[in-house]
Protein backbone atom coordinates (compact mmCIF):
# COMPACT_ATOMS: atom_id res chain seq x y z
CA UNK A 1 0.00 0.00 0.00
CA UNK A 2 1.28 3.46 -0.81
CA UNK A 3 2.07 5.84 2.01
CA UNK A 4 -0.28 8.37 0.44
CA UNK A 5 -3.23 6.01 0.91
CA UNK A 6 -2.05 4.61 4.22
CA UNK A 7 -1.70 8.07 5.75
CA UNK A 8 -4.83 9.53 4.14
CA UNK A 9 -2.82 12.25 2.39
CA UNK A 10 -4.66 15.25 0.96
CA UNK A 11 -3.01 17.93 -1.12
CA UNK A 12 -4.31 21.36 -2.07
CA UNK A 13 -2.94 24.60 -3.49
CA UNK A 14 -0.75 25.29 -6.47
CA UNK A 15 2.55 26.58 -5.14
CA UNK A 16 5.98 25.32 -6.17
CA UNK A 17 7.07 24.74 -2.60
CA UNK A 18 5.27 22.12 -0.57
CA UNK A 19 4.14 22.74 3.00
CA UNK A 20 3.50 19.56 4.99
CA UNK A 21 1.20 19.83 8.02
CA UNK A 22 1.42 17.15 10.70
CA UNK A 23 -1.08 16.83 13.55
CA UNK A 24 -0.16 15.96 17.12
CA UNK A 25 -1.41 13.45 19.66
CA UNK A 26 -5.15 13.49 20.16
CA UNK A 27 -6.45 14.66 16.83
CA UNK A 28 -5.98 14.38 13.08
CA UNK A 29 -5.40 16.58 10.02
CA UNK A 30 -8.63 18.44 10.79
CA UNK A 31 -6.58 20.40 13.31
CA UNK A 32 -5.16 22.49 10.50
CA UNK A 33 -8.50 23.45 8.95
CA UNK A 34 -8.15 27.12 9.98
CA UNK A 35 -4.43 27.40 9.14
CA UNK A 36 -3.56 25.39 6.03
CA UNK A 37 -6.05 27.09 3.66
CA UNK A 38 -4.22 30.38 4.27
CA UNK A 39 -1.14 28.96 2.51
CA UNK A 40 -2.82 27.36 -0.46
CA UNK A 41 -2.22 30.47 -2.61
CA UNK A 42 1.57 30.20 -2.49
CA UNK A 43 2.21 26.61 -1.39
CA UNK A 44 1.32 23.08 -2.27
CA UNK A 45 -0.34 22.15 1.01
CA UNK A 46 0.04 18.52 2.12
CA UNK A 47 -2.12 17.16 4.95
CA UNK A 48 -2.03 13.64 6.38
CA UNK A 49 -3.05 11.50 9.36
CA UNK A 50 -0.55 9.52 11.36
CA UNK A 51 -1.23 5.79 11.25
CA UNK A 52 -3.81 5.07 13.93
CA UNK A 53 -5.45 8.51 13.69
CA UNK A 54 -8.21 10.00 11.55
CA UNK A 55 -8.68 8.35 8.17
CA UNK A 56 -5.40 6.43 8.18
CA UNK A 57 -5.34 2.70 7.52
CA UNK A 58 -5.65 1.16 10.98
CA UNK A 59 -4.54 -2.19 9.61
CA UNK A 60 -1.14 -0.63 8.94
CA UNK A 61 -0.66 -0.06 12.65
CA UNK A 62 2.38 -2.09 13.69
CA UNK A 63 3.11 -1.83 17.42
CA UNK A 64 6.81 -2.57 16.88
CA UNK A 65 7.29 0.04 14.16
CA UNK A 66 5.42 2.71 16.07
CA UNK A 67 7.05 1.97 19.41
CA UNK A 68 9.24 5.05 18.88
CA UNK A 69 8.73 8.34 17.08
CA UNK A 70 11.12 7.09 14.39
CA UNK A 71 8.36 4.88 12.98
CA UNK A 72 6.19 7.95 12.47
CA UNK A 73 9.15 9.90 11.03
CA UNK A 74 9.76 7.10 8.49
CA UNK A 75 6.15 7.50 7.35
CA UNK A 76 6.75 11.21 6.78
CA UNK A 77 9.82 10.40 4.69
CA UNK A 78 7.84 7.81 2.68
CA UNK A 79 5.08 10.32 1.99
CA UNK A 80 7.73 12.89 0.97
CA UNK A 81 9.36 10.42 -1.39
CA UNK A 82 6.07 9.42 -3.00
CA UNK A 83 5.15 13.06 -3.55
CA UNK A 84 8.68 13.92 -4.69
CA UNK A 85 9.11 16.54 -2.00
CA UNK A 86 12.25 18.69 -2.05
CA UNK A 87 13.00 21.81 -0.03
CA UNK A 88 9.55 21.69 1.50
CA UNK A 89 8.35 23.33 4.72
CA UNK A 90 7.38 20.99 7.54
CA UNK A 91 4.81 22.26 10.03
CA UNK A 92 4.42 20.01 13.04
CA UNK A 93 2.12 20.46 15.99
CA UNK A 94 3.04 19.14 19.41
CA UNK A 95 4.71 15.70 19.13
CA UNK A 96 4.84 16.07 15.35
CA UNK A 97 7.38 18.87 15.76
CA UNK A 98 9.82 16.18 16.90
CA UNK A 99 8.58 13.71 14.26
CA UNK A 100 9.32 16.35 11.59
CA UNK A 101 12.72 17.01 13.12
CA UNK A 102 13.58 13.29 12.92
CA UNK A 103 12.27 13.10 9.34
CA UNK A 104 14.39 16.09 8.31
CA UNK A 105 17.46 14.32 9.68
CA UNK A 106 16.57 11.07 7.89
CA UNK A 107 15.99 12.68 4.48
CA UNK A 108 18.27 15.67 4.10
CA UNK A 109 17.06 18.04 1.41
CA UNK A 110 13.42 16.99 1.71
CA UNK A 111 12.70 19.91 4.04
CA UNK A 112 14.31 23.33 3.88
CA UNK A 113 12.71 24.61 7.09
CA UNK A 114 10.71 23.52 10.12
CA UNK A 115 7.80 25.15 11.92
CA UNK A 116 7.28 23.73 15.41
CA UNK A 117 3.98 24.53 17.12
CA UNK A 118 4.15 23.84 20.86
CA UNK A 119 7.13 21.47 20.64
CA UNK A 120 8.57 19.48 23.52
CA UNK A 121 11.64 17.25 23.22
CA UNK A 122 10.83 15.63 26.57
CA UNK A 123 7.69 15.91 28.67
CA UNK A 124 9.06 14.41 31.88
CA UNK A 125 11.29 16.36 34.28
CA UNK A 126 14.87 15.14 34.38
CA UNK A 127 17.44 16.59 36.81
CA UNK A 128 17.76 20.25 35.82
CA UNK A 129 15.53 19.85 32.80
CA UNK A 130 11.93 20.92 33.33
CA UNK A 131 9.55 19.10 31.02
CA UNK A 132 6.45 19.87 33.04
CA UNK A 133 5.46 16.36 34.15
CA UNK A 134 6.48 13.69 36.61
CA UNK A 135 6.76 10.11 35.48
CA UNK A 136 3.88 9.13 37.77
CA UNK A 137 1.60 11.69 36.16
CA UNK A 138 2.23 10.23 32.72
CA UNK A 139 1.32 6.80 34.09
CA UNK A 140 -1.96 8.28 35.35
CA UNK A 141 -2.58 9.77 31.94
CA UNK A 142 -2.33 6.36 30.31
CA UNK A 143 -4.87 4.97 32.76
CA UNK A 144 -7.12 7.91 32.18
CA UNK A 145 -7.20 7.18 28.46
CA UNK A 146 -9.35 4.16 29.14
CA UNK A 147 -12.06 6.42 30.57
CA UNK A 148 -12.58 8.27 27.31
CA UNK A 149 -13.26 6.22 24.26
CA UNK A 150 -13.80 9.38 22.24
CA UNK A 151 -16.83 8.30 20.33
CA UNK A 152 -15.25 4.96 19.64
CA UNK A 153 -17.01 1.71 20.11
CA UNK A 154 -16.62 -1.52 18.25
CA UNK A 155 -20.03 -1.00 16.73
CA UNK A 156 -19.03 2.44 15.44
CA UNK A 157 -15.66 1.46 14.02
CA UNK A 158 -16.90 0.33 10.59
CA UNK A 159 -18.85 3.56 10.16
CA UNK A 160 -15.80 5.59 11.04
CA UNK A 161 -13.42 3.66 8.87
CA UNK A 162 -15.85 3.65 5.99
CA UNK A 163 -15.72 7.42 5.94
CA UNK A 164 -12.11 8.30 5.35
CA UNK A 165 -13.15 11.56 3.74
CA UNK A 166 -15.51 12.60 6.36
CA UNK A 167 -15.64 16.38 6.64
CA UNK A 168 -19.34 16.11 5.92
CA UNK A 169 -19.82 13.60 8.68
CA UNK A 170 -21.70 16.08 10.77
CA UNK A 171 -23.20 16.46 14.16
CA UNK A 172 -25.33 13.35 13.88
CA UNK A 173 -22.30 11.51 15.19
CA UNK A 174 -21.24 12.58 18.62
CA UNK A 175 -17.63 13.76 18.80
CA UNK A 176 -17.09 12.97 15.17
CA UNK A 177 -13.61 14.43 14.92
CA UNK A 178 -10.39 13.06 16.27
CA UNK A 179 -11.64 9.55 16.69
CA UNK A 180 -8.94 7.07 17.53
CA UNK A 181 -8.89 3.41 18.36
CA UNK A 182 -8.42 3.56 22.16
CA UNK A 183 -5.69 0.92 22.12
CA UNK A 184 -3.69 2.76 19.48
CA UNK A 185 -4.29 6.09 21.24
CA UNK A 186 -2.89 4.64 24.42
CA UNK A 187 0.25 3.42 22.64
CA UNK A 188 0.70 6.75 20.88
CA UNK A 189 0.36 8.50 24.23
CA UNK A 190 2.93 6.19 25.78
CA UNK A 191 5.39 6.78 22.93
CA UNK A 192 4.76 10.51 22.86
CA UNK A 193 5.01 11.24 26.56
CA UNK A 194 8.00 8.97 27.14
CA UNK A 195 9.97 10.28 24.16
CA UNK A 196 13.27 12.07 24.64
CA UNK A 197 14.64 13.94 21.63
CA UNK A 198 16.76 16.48 23.45
CA UNK A 199 19.96 15.14 21.89
CA UNK A 200 18.51 15.49 18.37
CA UNK A 201 17.81 19.22 18.63
CA UNK A 202 21.41 20.32 18.05
CA UNK A 203 21.60 18.21 14.85
CA UNK A 204 19.08 20.46 13.12
CA UNK A 205 20.78 22.88 10.73
CA UNK A 206 17.81 24.14 8.69
CA UNK A 207 15.96 27.30 9.77
CA UNK A 208 13.38 26.53 12.45
CA UNK A 209 10.46 28.57 13.74
CA UNK A 210 9.21 27.77 17.23
CA UNK A 211 5.68 28.93 18.05
CA UNK A 212 5.18 28.92 21.79
CA UNK A 213 1.86 29.66 23.50
CA UNK A 214 1.93 31.89 26.53
CA UNK A 215 0.06 29.46 28.77
CA UNK A 216 0.45 25.81 27.79
CA UNK A 217 0.31 22.98 30.31
CA UNK A 218 1.66 20.50 27.78
CA UNK A 219 4.62 22.52 26.55
CA UNK A 220 5.46 25.28 29.04
CA UNK A 221 7.45 28.36 28.00
CA UNK A 222 10.62 26.98 29.61
CA UNK A 223 10.46 24.04 27.20
CA UNK A 224 10.03 26.33 24.19
CA UNK A 225 13.04 28.34 25.33
CA UNK A 226 15.05 25.15 25.76
CA UNK A 227 14.23 24.05 22.21
CA UNK A 228 15.19 27.49 20.92
CA UNK A 229 18.51 27.41 22.76
CA UNK A 230 19.40 23.93 21.47
CA UNK A 231 18.50 24.41 17.79
CA UNK A 232 21.21 26.71 16.37
CA UNK A 233 19.29 28.31 13.53
CA UNK A 234 15.99 28.84 15.31
CA UNK A 235 13.59 31.64 16.00
CA UNK A 236 11.23 31.66 19.00
CA UNK A 237 7.88 33.44 18.82
CA UNK A 238 5.77 33.61 21.98
CA UNK A 239 2.12 33.75 20.92
CA UNK A 240 -0.53 35.61 22.88
CA UNK A 241 -2.65 32.50 22.46
CA UNK A 242 -3.09 30.20 25.44
CA UNK A 243 -3.58 26.44 25.55
CA UNK A 244 -1.87 23.83 23.47
CA UNK A 245 -3.67 24.22 20.16
CA UNK A 246 -3.17 27.77 18.82
CA UNK A 247 -3.81 26.39 15.34
CA UNK A 248 -7.43 26.06 16.49
CA UNK A 249 -7.80 28.72 19.14
CA UNK A 250 -5.77 31.48 17.44
CA UNK A 251 -5.29 30.53 13.78
CA UNK A 252 -4.73 34.12 12.59
CA UNK A 253 -1.87 34.62 14.99
CA UNK A 254 -0.30 31.34 13.89
CA UNK A 255 -0.75 32.14 10.20
CA UNK A 256 0.78 35.56 10.56
CA UNK A 257 3.78 34.28 12.52
CA UNK A 258 4.33 31.62 9.88
CA UNK A 259 4.03 34.09 7.00
CA UNK A 260 6.79 36.16 8.55
CA UNK A 261 9.00 33.06 8.59
CA UNK A 262 8.33 31.40 5.24
Amino acid sequence: MSAVVRNNVHTAGAGQTAMVFAHGFGCDQNMWRHVSPAFEDKFRVVLFDHVGAGGSDLKAYDPAKYSTLHGYAEDVVEIGNELGLKDAVFVGHSVSAMIGLLASLKARGMFKSLVMVGPSPRYIDDDDYVGGFKEQQIAELLDFLADNHMGWSTAMAPVIMGNADRPDLGAELTNSFCRTDPDIAKEFARVTFNSDNRADLAKVTIPTLILQCSEDVIAPIAVGEYVHKQIPNSELVILKATGHCPNLSAPEEVVSAMRGFV
Partner: protein
Protein backbone atom coordinates in the same frame (compact mmCIF):
# COMPACT_ATOMS: atom_id res chain seq x y z
CA UNK B 1 -57.65 18.00 38.25
CA UNK B 2 -56.89 19.50 41.55
CA UNK B 3 -53.34 20.63 40.59
CA UNK B 4 -52.94 23.77 38.45
CA UNK B 5 -52.02 23.11 34.81
CA UNK B 6 -49.03 25.41 34.86
CA UNK B 7 -46.47 25.74 37.58
CA UNK B 8 -44.33 28.81 37.39
CA UNK B 9 -40.71 27.52 37.12
CA UNK B 10 -38.10 29.53 38.98
CA UNK B 11 -35.43 29.72 36.27
CA UNK B 12 -32.87 31.30 38.54
CA UNK B 13 -33.31 28.42 40.98
CA UNK B 14 -33.26 25.94 38.10
CA UNK B 15 -29.83 27.28 37.10
CA UNK B 16 -28.41 27.36 40.60
CA UNK B 17 -29.82 24.12 41.98
CA UNK B 18 -30.27 22.01 38.87
CA UNK B 19 -29.45 18.30 39.28
CA UNK B 20 -26.25 19.00 37.33
CA UNK B 21 -23.38 21.43 37.54
CA UNK B 22 -23.15 24.41 35.20
CA UNK B 23 -19.91 26.11 34.29
CA UNK B 24 -19.32 28.95 31.88
CA UNK B 25 -15.81 29.56 30.55
CA UNK B 26 -14.14 32.20 28.47
CA UNK B 27 -12.66 30.81 25.23
CA UNK B 28 -9.27 30.70 26.95
CA UNK B 29 -10.65 28.40 29.62
CA UNK B 30 -11.12 30.82 32.54
CA UNK B 31 -14.24 30.22 34.61
CA UNK B 32 -16.72 33.11 34.56
CA UNK B 33 -19.71 31.49 36.23
CA UNK B 34 -20.54 28.35 38.19
CA UNK B 35 -23.84 27.25 39.69
CA UNK B 36 -24.55 26.23 43.29
CA UNK B 37 -24.74 22.53 42.46
CA UNK B 38 -21.23 22.60 41.01
CA UNK B 39 -19.91 24.50 44.02
CA UNK B 40 -21.58 22.08 46.41
CA UNK B 41 -20.11 19.06 44.63
CA UNK B 42 -16.60 20.45 44.48
CA UNK B 43 -16.52 22.25 47.81
CA UNK B 44 -15.45 25.59 46.34
CA UNK B 45 -17.19 28.90 47.03
CA UNK B 46 -18.30 30.61 43.80
CA UNK B 47 -15.72 33.37 44.15
CA UNK B 48 -12.97 30.78 44.56
CA UNK B 49 -13.79 29.43 41.09
CA UNK B 50 -14.33 32.64 39.14
CA UNK B 51 -11.14 33.66 37.34
CA UNK B 52 -9.50 30.28 37.66
CA UNK B 53 -8.99 28.09 34.64
CA UNK B 54 -10.81 24.82 34.19
CA UNK B 55 -7.31 23.24 34.16
CA UNK B 56 -6.81 24.21 37.74
CA UNK B 57 -9.59 21.93 38.93
CA UNK B 58 -8.63 18.96 36.72
CA UNK B 59 -6.09 16.28 37.52
CA UNK B 60 -2.94 16.17 35.38
CA UNK B 61 -4.22 13.50 33.03
CA UNK B 62 -7.42 15.47 32.59
CA UNK B 63 -5.46 18.61 31.77
CA UNK B 64 -3.46 16.85 29.08
CA UNK B 65 -6.59 15.34 27.66
CA UNK B 66 -8.52 18.53 27.77
CA UNK B 67 -5.76 20.25 25.79
CA UNK B 68 -5.07 17.50 23.30
CA UNK B 69 -8.57 16.19 22.73
CA UNK B 70 -11.50 18.10 24.11
CA UNK B 71 -10.47 21.70 23.41
CA UNK B 72 -9.67 20.90 19.73
CA UNK B 73 -12.90 18.93 19.42
CA UNK B 74 -14.89 21.81 20.84
CA UNK B 75 -13.29 24.30 18.43
CA UNK B 76 -13.85 22.05 15.45
CA UNK B 77 -17.41 20.85 15.97
CA UNK B 78 -18.68 23.44 18.41
CA UNK B 79 -19.48 20.89 21.12
CA UNK B 80 -18.35 17.77 22.81
CA UNK B 81 -20.42 15.19 24.61
CA UNK B 82 -19.89 12.54 27.25
CA UNK B 83 -16.34 13.40 28.12
CA UNK B 84 -15.08 11.74 31.29
CA UNK B 85 -13.00 13.95 33.56
CA UNK B 86 -11.80 13.86 37.14
CA UNK B 87 -12.37 17.12 38.98
CA UNK B 88 -10.13 17.84 41.93
CA UNK B 89 -12.30 18.94 44.85
CA UNK B 90 -11.19 21.65 47.24
CA UNK B 91 -10.16 18.96 49.73
CA UNK B 92 -8.01 17.30 47.05
CA UNK B 93 -10.29 14.31 46.50
CA UNK B 94 -11.14 13.21 42.98
CA UNK B 95 -14.67 13.75 41.71
CA UNK B 96 -15.46 11.78 38.55
CA UNK B 97 -17.78 13.60 36.20
CA UNK B 98 -19.21 13.39 32.71
CA UNK B 99 -19.15 16.67 30.82
CA UNK B 100 -21.04 17.99 27.83
CA UNK B 101 -19.95 21.29 26.36
CA UNK B 102 -21.12 23.75 23.73
CA UNK B 103 -19.33 26.75 22.35
CA UNK B 104 -21.27 29.92 21.98
CA UNK B 105 -20.08 31.97 19.00
CA UNK B 106 -20.95 35.46 17.85
CA UNK B 107 -22.29 36.43 14.43
CA UNK B 108 -18.76 36.23 12.91
CA UNK B 109 -18.27 32.73 14.29
CA UNK B 110 -15.88 33.91 16.98
CA UNK B 111 -16.15 31.93 20.19
CA UNK B 112 -17.68 34.01 22.96
CA UNK B 113 -17.86 31.53 25.79
CA UNK B 114 -18.11 27.83 26.53
CA UNK B 115 -20.96 26.25 28.48
CA UNK B 116 -20.35 23.06 30.38
CA UNK B 117 -22.91 20.72 31.89
CA UNK B 118 -21.34 18.53 34.54
CA UNK B 119 -22.86 15.26 35.77
CA UNK B 120 -21.82 13.37 38.83
CA UNK B 121 -20.47 10.06 37.48
CA UNK B 122 -18.84 8.41 40.50
CA UNK B 123 -20.89 5.22 40.34
CA UNK B 124 -20.85 5.06 36.57
CA UNK B 125 -17.06 5.45 36.50
CA UNK B 126 -16.59 2.72 39.03
CA UNK B 127 -18.83 0.46 36.98
CA UNK B 128 -17.06 1.32 33.72
CA UNK B 129 -13.68 0.59 35.25
CA UNK B 130 -14.96 -2.76 36.46
CA UNK B 131 -16.16 -3.47 32.93
CA UNK B 132 -12.81 -2.47 31.47
CA UNK B 133 -11.00 -4.60 34.00
CA UNK B 134 -13.25 -7.55 33.16
CA UNK B 135 -12.65 -6.97 29.46
CA UNK B 136 -8.88 -6.86 29.95
CA UNK B 137 -8.98 -10.02 32.04
CA UNK B 138 -11.12 -11.72 29.42
CA UNK B 139 -8.71 -10.58 26.71
CA UNK B 140 -5.76 -11.95 28.66
CA UNK B 141 -7.61 -15.20 29.27
CA UNK B 142 -8.59 -15.48 25.61
CA UNK B 143 -4.96 -14.84 24.74
CA UNK B 144 -3.65 -17.67 26.91
CA UNK B 145 -6.46 -19.94 25.77
CA UNK B 146 -5.64 -19.27 22.13
CA UNK B 147 -2.00 -19.98 22.82
CA UNK B 148 -2.80 -23.21 24.61
CA UNK B 149 -5.04 -24.41 21.81
CA UNK B 150 -2.33 -23.57 19.29
CA UNK B 151 0.30 -25.44 21.28
CA UNK B 152 -1.99 -28.44 21.76
CA UNK B 153 -2.77 -28.55 18.06
CA UNK B 154 0.90 -28.44 17.08
CA UNK B 155 1.70 -31.15 19.63
CA UNK B 156 -1.18 -33.33 18.44
CA UNK B 157 -0.16 -32.97 14.81
CA UNK B 158 3.42 -33.77 15.68
CA UNK B 159 2.57 -36.93 17.61
CA UNK B 160 0.08 -38.00 14.92
CA UNK B 161 2.78 -37.67 12.29
CA UNK B 162 5.28 -39.49 14.47
CA UNK B 163 2.77 -42.27 15.14
CA UNK B 164 1.96 -42.67 11.46
CA UNK B 165 5.61 -42.87 10.46
CA UNK B 166 6.29 -45.29 13.33
CA UNK B 167 3.46 -47.51 12.13
CA UNK B 168 4.74 -47.40 8.57
CA UNK B 169 8.26 -48.28 9.70
CA UNK B 170 6.98 -51.16 11.83
CA UNK B 171 5.02 -52.49 8.86
CA UNK B 172 8.10 -52.32 6.66
CA UNK B 173 10.16 -54.14 9.28
CA UNK B 174 7.59 -56.94 9.57
CA UNK B 175 7.65 -57.39 5.81
CA UNK B 176 11.44 -57.36 5.79
CA UNK B 177 11.63 -59.99 8.54
CA UNK B 178 9.09 -62.21 6.78
CA UNK B 179 10.91 -62.02 3.43
CA UNK B 180 14.28 -62.54 5.10
CA UNK B 181 13.00 -65.58 7.02
CA UNK B 182 11.57 -67.14 3.87
CA UNK B 183 14.71 -66.56 1.83
CA UNK B 184 17.05 -67.88 4.53
CA UNK B 185 15.04 -70.97 5.46
CA UNK B 186 14.28 -72.18 1.94
CA UNK B 187 17.85 -73.10 0.92
CA UNK B 188 18.35 -74.85 4.28
CA UNK B 189 15.22 -76.93 3.69
CA UNK B 190 16.53 -77.89 0.25
CA UNK B 191 19.88 -78.99 1.72
CA UNK B 192 18.20 -81.12 4.42
CA UNK B 193 15.91 -82.71 1.82
CA UNK B 194 18.97 -83.38 -0.34
CA UNK B 195 20.94 -85.07 2.48
CA UNK B 196 17.93 -87.29 3.35
CA UNK B 197 17.64 -88.32 -0.28
CA UNK B 198 21.36 -89.21 -0.38
CA UNK B 199 21.05 -91.17 2.92
CA UNK B 200 18.57 -93.53 1.20
CA UNK B 201 21.24 -94.76 -1.22
CA UNK B 202 23.98 -97.15 -0.15
CA UNK B 203 26.81 -95.10 1.40
CA UNK B 204 30.16 -96.01 2.76
CA UNK B 205 30.96 -95.15 6.37
CA UNK B 206 32.87 -91.97 5.59
CA UNK B 207 30.12 -90.58 3.34
CA UNK B 208 27.50 -91.45 6.00
CA UNK B 209 29.50 -89.54 8.65
CA UNK B 210 29.89 -86.56 6.33
CA UNK B 211 26.14 -86.47 5.62
CA UNK B 212 25.38 -86.49 9.38
CA UNK B 213 27.87 -83.66 9.90
CA UNK B 214 26.21 -81.70 7.12
CA UNK B 215 22.77 -82.28 8.67
CA UNK B 216 24.11 -81.16 12.03
CA UNK B 217 25.46 -77.97 10.50
CA UNK B 218 22.24 -77.28 8.66
CA UNK B 219 20.21 -77.76 11.83
CA UNK B 220 22.51 -75.43 13.71
CA UNK B 221 22.19 -72.96 10.89
CA UNK B 222 18.39 -73.27 10.92
CA UNK B 223 18.27 -72.69 14.64
CA UNK B 224 20.51 -69.62 14.29
CA UNK B 225 18.23 -68.25 11.57
CA UNK B 226 15.20 -68.83 13.81
CA UNK B 227 16.90 -67.07 16.67
CA UNK B 228 17.91 -64.10 14.52
CA UNK B 229 14.43 -63.79 13.12
CA UNK B 230 12.80 -64.05 16.52
CA UNK B 231 15.18 -61.48 17.88
CA UNK B 232 14.41 -59.16 14.97
CA UNK B 233 10.71 -59.67 15.49
CA UNK B 234 10.95 -59.07 19.22
CA UNK B 235 13.13 -56.03 18.93
CA UNK B 236 12.03 -54.49 15.67
CA UNK B 237 8.66 -55.93 14.84
CA UNK B 238 5.50 -56.77 16.64
CA UNK B 239 7.13 -59.07 19.19
CA UNK B 240 7.02 -62.86 19.50
CA UNK B 241 3.83 -64.38 18.26
CA UNK B 242 2.35 -67.43 20.00
CA UNK B 243 0.01 -70.01 18.55
CA UNK B 244 -1.13 -71.57 21.82
CA UNK B 245 -2.92 -74.91 21.93
CA UNK B 246 -3.68 -77.59 24.54
CA UNK B 247 -2.14 -80.41 22.52
CA UNK B 248 0.21 -82.66 24.52
CA UNK B 249 3.68 -81.16 24.78
CA UNK B 250 5.54 -84.40 25.11
CA UNK B 251 5.83 -85.20 21.37
CA UNK B 252 7.31 -81.76 20.74
CA UNK B 253 9.84 -82.25 23.54
CA UNK B 254 10.68 -85.76 22.41
CA UNK B 255 11.26 -84.55 18.85
CA UNK B 256 13.84 -82.02 20.11
CA UNK B 257 15.58 -84.76 22.11
CA UNK B 258 15.64 -87.03 19.06
CA UNK B 259 16.97 -84.37 16.74
CA UNK B 260 19.75 -83.33 19.08
CA UNK B 261 20.60 -86.90 20.00
CA UNK B 262 21.04 -87.67 16.32
CA UNK B 263 23.45 -84.79 15.91
CA UNK B 264 25.18 -85.52 19.24
CA UNK B 265 25.38 -89.33 19.06
CA UNK B 266 28.21 -89.44 21.66
CA UNK B 267 26.15 -87.58 24.32
CA UNK B 268 23.83 -89.19 26.88
CA UNK B 269 20.45 -87.52 27.27
CA UNK B 270 18.32 -88.81 30.17
CA UNK B 271 14.67 -87.78 30.06
CA UNK B 272 11.93 -87.99 32.68
CA UNK B 273 8.66 -86.72 31.28
CA UNK B 274 5.68 -86.72 33.71
CA UNK B 275 3.16 -84.58 31.89
CA UNK B 276 -0.13 -85.59 33.49
CA UNK B 277 -2.04 -82.39 32.96
CA UNK B 278 -2.63 -80.46 29.75
CA UNK B 279 -0.45 -77.37 29.27
CA UNK B 280 -1.82 -74.44 27.38
CA UNK B 281 1.18 -73.33 25.31
CA UNK B 282 2.61 -72.95 21.84
CA UNK B 283 4.29 -76.36 21.27
CA UNK B 284 6.56 -75.00 18.50
CA UNK B 285 7.81 -72.19 20.75
CA UNK B 286 8.27 -74.47 23.73
CA UNK B 287 10.18 -76.85 21.45
CA UNK B 288 12.34 -73.93 20.32
CA UNK B 289 12.98 -72.91 23.95
CA UNK B 290 13.81 -76.47 24.90
CA UNK B 291 16.08 -76.89 21.87
CA UNK B 292 18.06 -73.82 22.97
CA UNK B 293 18.44 -75.12 26.54
CA UNK B 294 19.29 -78.66 25.53
CA UNK B 295 21.66 -77.52 22.78
CA UNK B 296 23.54 -75.38 25.34
CA UNK B 297 23.71 -78.27 27.82
CA UNK B 298 25.12 -80.61 25.16
CA UNK B 299 27.66 -78.03 24.02
CA UNK B 300 28.85 -76.90 27.48
CA UNK B 301 28.26 -80.06 29.54
CA UNK B 302 31.13 -82.20 30.77
CA UNK B 303 31.82 -84.87 28.17
CA UNK B 304 30.82 -88.31 29.33
CA UNK B 305 28.37 -87.01 31.94
CA UNK B 306 24.66 -87.24 31.05
CA UNK B 307 22.39 -84.29 30.40
CA UNK B 308 19.16 -84.77 32.34
CA UNK B 309 15.82 -83.43 31.22
CA UNK B 310 12.79 -83.48 33.52
CA UNK B 311 9.33 -82.23 32.67
CA UNK B 312 6.38 -82.25 35.05
CA UNK B 313 2.95 -80.69 35.56
CA UNK B 314 2.27 -80.28 39.27
CA UNK B 315 0.91 -76.82 40.10
CA UNK B 316 2.68 -75.46 37.06
CA UNK B 317 4.56 -76.68 34.06
CA UNK B 318 8.22 -77.19 34.91
CA UNK B 319 10.94 -78.13 32.44
CA UNK B 320 14.50 -78.48 33.73
CA UNK B 321 17.70 -79.16 31.76
CA UNK B 322 20.76 -79.98 33.87
CA UNK B 323 24.34 -80.80 33.03
CA UNK B 324 27.62 -81.29 34.86
CA UNK B 325 30.60 -79.11 34.02
CA UNK B 326 32.21 -75.82 34.85
CA UNK B 327 29.82 -73.48 36.62
CA UNK B 328 28.73 -70.26 34.92
CA UNK B 329 30.59 -67.28 36.45
CA UNK B 330 28.46 -64.85 38.44
CA UNK B 331 29.33 -62.07 35.95
CA UNK B 332 28.14 -64.18 33.03
CA UNK B 333 25.00 -65.17 34.98
CA UNK B 334 23.96 -61.54 35.22
CA UNK B 335 24.00 -61.01 31.50
CA UNK B 336 22.92 -64.50 30.50
CA UNK B 337 19.51 -63.56 29.12
CA UNK B 338 20.63 -60.35 27.39
CA UNK B 339 20.87 -60.51 23.61
CA UNK B 340 24.42 -61.15 22.29
CA UNK B 341 25.48 -62.22 25.81
CA UNK B 342 28.15 -64.66 24.79
CA UNK B 343 29.82 -66.27 27.76
CA UNK B 344 33.36 -65.10 28.45
CA UNK B 345 34.46 -68.71 28.53
CA UNK B 346 35.10 -70.64 25.35
CA UNK B 347 33.64 -68.17 22.90
CA UNK B 348 34.40 -70.54 20.04
CA UNK B 349 31.60 -72.80 21.23
CA UNK B 350 28.99 -70.03 21.21
CA UNK B 351 26.53 -68.94 18.60
CA UNK B 352 25.28 -65.40 18.32
CA UNK B 353 24.36 -65.26 21.99
CA UNK B 354 20.69 -64.99 21.13
CA UNK B 355 19.50 -68.44 22.20
CA UNK B 356 18.91 -67.74 25.89
CA UNK B 357 17.49 -64.32 25.12
CA UNK B 358 14.92 -65.87 22.78
CA UNK B 359 14.22 -68.64 25.30
CA UNK B 360 13.52 -66.12 28.04
CA UNK B 361 11.30 -64.12 25.67
CA UNK B 362 9.31 -67.26 24.89
CA UNK B 363 9.01 -67.97 28.62
CA UNK B 364 7.82 -64.40 29.24
CA UNK B 365 5.28 -64.68 26.43
CA UNK B 366 3.84 -67.70 28.23
CA UNK B 367 3.77 -65.83 31.54
CA UNK B 368 6.70 -67.89 32.81
CA UNK B 369 10.34 -67.57 33.82
CA UNK B 370 13.64 -69.34 33.29
CA UNK B 371 15.75 -69.75 36.43
CA UNK B 372 19.39 -70.76 36.50
CA UNK B 373 21.32 -72.48 39.24
CA UNK B 374 24.99 -73.15 38.64
CA UNK B 375 27.29 -74.98 41.07
CA UNK B 376 30.60 -76.79 40.41
CA UNK B 377 28.55 -80.00 40.40
CA UNK B 378 25.50 -79.07 38.36
CA UNK B 379 24.13 -76.31 36.15
CA UNK B 380 20.35 -76.25 35.71
CA UNK B 381 18.05 -74.13 33.56
CA UNK B 382 14.45 -74.43 34.70
CA UNK B 383 11.36 -73.13 32.86
CA UNK B 384 8.36 -72.54 35.07
CA UNK B 385 5.07 -71.36 33.62
CA UNK B 386 1.38 -71.60 34.48
CA UNK B 387 -0.58 -74.51 33.07
CA UNK B 388 -3.32 -72.17 31.90
CA UNK B 389 -3.12 -68.57 30.86
Amino acid sequence: MSEPDHIEEDLQDLYENAPCGYLSLRPDGHIVKANQTFCRWTGYAPDELIGRRLHDILNIAGRIFYETHFAPLLRMQGFFNEVALDLVKKDGAAFPVLVNATERTNAEGKPQFIRLTVFNASDRRRYERELLKARDELKAFAGTLEQRVAEETVERLRSDTALTSQREEAKLREQFIAVLGHDLRNPLASIIAGTRLIQKSKLDEKAEATIIMMQKSVMRMASLVDNVLDFARGRLGGGLTLVPSSQPLEPALQQVVDELQSTHPESIIKTDFALTKPVHADPVRIGQLFSNLLGNALTHGLAGEPVTVTAKTDDEFELAVCNAGDPISPAALERLFQPFARGEVRPSKQGLGLGLYIASEIAKAHGGTIDVTSTPELTCFTLRMPLLR
